[in-house]
Symmetry: C2
Subunit: 109 residues, 2 copies
């Protein structure tokens, strides 16, 4: 299991375009630039609690989007398959096995 | 350019999970099962105009999601690359060219 920060970084990366500009700024400062809640609150002249609530809600939204669209999960599966295919190519695996591996990749979509 | 029905079928397929149950039912009846607006209106006991408005709004939502997430566009690019890779495998292309093609696929994510 990934730690929460890494997971949120990935989910933010995949679903960022679905967030409001404010949600996106808070998440980016908190998760990518490692600001504290207090620092974000000061930057935006709001209460620490308001920042906390907004970030919690955004995290829940990102998890909901992932539950519905599975972009991160599919990305991980695709990465595994692609890295297998590269290994098979490098070790000179036969044509039929390569084609089979590529077909699995195709099925993911 | 794909005709509108085909495009909507694809977008519906990719973003269906983000629609409400009603939006999803109307779209599915209209685009997948080829019901007329009047037939859907009768089925749900609402006006033909209400069905029309709902479907128009849903179509716009699907296009907005595609603008933000590009799932259909990336799917098409991935399909092209995968079909190239299969051809290269079948025609016995050398290892370095195969690896290059797989790397392009990887970059898409």
């Amino acid at each position: 299991m990934l730690d929460k920060t890494t997971r949120m970084n990935y989910l933010y990366d995949f679903y960022q375009s679905l967030l409001t500009p404010k949600q996106s700024s808070y998440m980016s400062l908190y998760y990518l630039e490692d600001y504290s809640l207090g620092e974000i609150a000061e930057e935006y002249d709001v209460s620490r609690q308001a920042v906390y609530d907004n970030i919690k809600r955004t995290e829940a939204m990102l998890e909901e989007y992932e539950e519905k669209l599975l972009l991160f999960e599919k990305f991980q599966e695709r990465s595994k398959l692609i890295s297998n295919i590269k290994e098979m190519i490098t070790s000179g695996d036969p044509e039929d096995r390569l084609l089979q591996a590529v077909a699995e990749l195709e099925k993911l979509d």
